[in-house]
């Protein structure tokens, strides 16, 4: 924080903090009511961005649960890039550490595949390693197919990469 521009620091902190901070030295009396607009906009923008980046996690958790965990993630994780598409890289690790989600620990793999796919243009020459069956599950969730027969095998790894065929990108497993 610099003394020179402490009003900017103060206002930014007011927006990022959900606590009731005394703002009467900073803001014209009465105008602090507008702070909630900035606070709501911040959460709304980042939550929308997470939904955009993690469509299969959104389907897996459902809108209400996604909003709940997304809000917790946003409180804990500031955005460090001007490019909104960069926000949320660690959501999978955040979710898998939540006690409420311990029975669906594969949410980590679904999140990692969402993120890998969302950034597919940058990941064309990359691959990720996940428990065997993760891609099949992600594919079923993404395309609203039955997931009952999918088995996630934590003792075996699958490599997932991107291939380009007929101007279309696909996620595939490779040995």
């Amino acid at each position: 924080m610099t003394d020179k521009f402490n009003s900017l620091d103060f206002f930014s902190n007011l927006v990022l903090s959900s606590q009731d901070i005394d703002s009467k030295e900073l803001l014209v009396a009465g105008s602090e009511k507008g702070l909630d607009i900035y606070r709501q906009c911040y959460v709304h923008t980042l939550l929308d961005s997470l939904k955009n980046s993690y469509p299969a996690v959104l389907k897996l958790l459902g809108e209400s649960n996604f909003n709940y965990f997304g809000n917790l993630y946003i409180q804990k994780t500031p955005s460090l890039s001007p490019n909104l598409n960069d926000y949320g890289a660690e959501l999978g690790h955040f979710l898998v550490e939540r006690a409420e989600l311990k029975d669906i620990s594969y949410v980590l793999f679904i999140a990692q595949l969402d993120w890998f796919w969302f950034h597919s243009e940058e990941n064309q020459h990359e691959s990720i390693q996940l428990s065997k069956g993760s891609l099949a599950l992600w594919d079923c969730i993404t395309h609203d197919k039955n997931v009952e027969d999918i088995v996630i095998d934590p003792n075996n790894i699958e490599n997932v990469c991107i291939i380009y065929e007929n101007d279309t990108m696909y996620l595939v497993t490779k040995e």
Partner: protein
């Protein structure tokens, strides 16, 4: 690359891009939020195709013009690369700050209007113009809180910023109207004080009301009051590029084009 273009265009949302490419509606230009094109993807091929048919301007939301963090040269480099690729006829951002101590708000936070912040903003605009190697256009924002220390009217702040840096101004009529509703600023005083010789672009939009505030959501049609403003200040607006912005409650393209027609009728008939 600055060109003197006039008429009424729209901001280009991705939702419209295929339809515009197919229909090629008669529009003088389109505006894109450059920040939405920072990432790679097939949407770039479509923009390149559109560029064959339309002039475009760049509108940015991440330069942090009024902030105190050091200028994000990585971001500006990316914006400059987009400029080199798509050759917009002008480029703008807002009189606000969007990042602080490395934390990005992805929103337009207000700055105090004081001499100290005018000097800071002027220094930063100069730096940005040097990096971009072109004139920057700075837009008047909406705000929902007011700093106790502000002692310069926004219109005077913008005029002085333009004198200090030779930047140009983008006047958003809806933002002035929204601020007049929320903070009782005098629209006529604002519109007659602004140095119109420095104004190079106009924005129009429709707000929404939430609680006791009008919010600049870009979520509705242009309202009656704004059409009255357009008519009243017709002589100042008529030679400028004008954009109708819509980012929420997205209508069909026809509705956007109808708004453009209505503005054109008021302005040019």
């Amino acid at each position: 690359m600055q060109k003197n273009l006039t008429g009424v265009g729209i901001n280009l949302r991705l939702e419209y891009i295929d339809e515009i490419l197919t229909q090629l509606p008669k529009l003088p230009f389109l505006e894109i939020i450059a920040d939405n094109w920072l990432s790679l993807g097939p949407h770039h091929q479509k923009l390149a195709k559109l560029r064959e048919h339309y002039e475009i301007s760049f509108h940015c939301v991440g330069m942090n013009i009024g902030g105190s963090d050091i200028i994000n040269t990585h971001y500006i480099k990316k914006i400059k690369e987009l400029c080199d690729t798509y050759q917009p006829f002008q480029i703008s951002d807002h009189l606000s700050y969007q990042a602080n101590n490395g934390f990005h708000h992805h929103d337009l936070l207000p700055i105090p209007y004081t001499k100290k912040y005018l000097i800071n903003t002027s220094d930063r605009v100069m730096q940005l113009q040097d990096l971009l190697k072109q004139t920057l256009i700075v837009e008047n924002p909406t705000y929902y809180t007011a700093y106790a220390e502000s002692d310069i009217a926004e219109e005077d702040f913008l005029n002085q910023l333009a004198i200090n840096t030779n930047c140009k101004l983008l006047i958003d009529l809806n933002n002035i109207w929204v601020n007049s509703q929320n903070f009782k600023i005098n629209i006529d005083q604002y519109m007659t004080t602004i140095n119109w010789a420095m104004v190079k672009e106009i924005h129009l939009a429709g707000p929404d009301i939430m609680g006791e505030f009008y919010i600049d959501t870009h979520g509705s049609d242009i309202n009656h009051d704004l059409f009255q403003m357009i008519k009243k200040y017709q002589d100042k607006l008529i030679g400028l590029p004008i954009f109708y912005e819509r980012d929420n409650n997205i209508p069909k393209l026809d509705v956007m084009l109808h708004q453009v027609e209505k503005v054109s009728e008021v302005l040019y008939d």
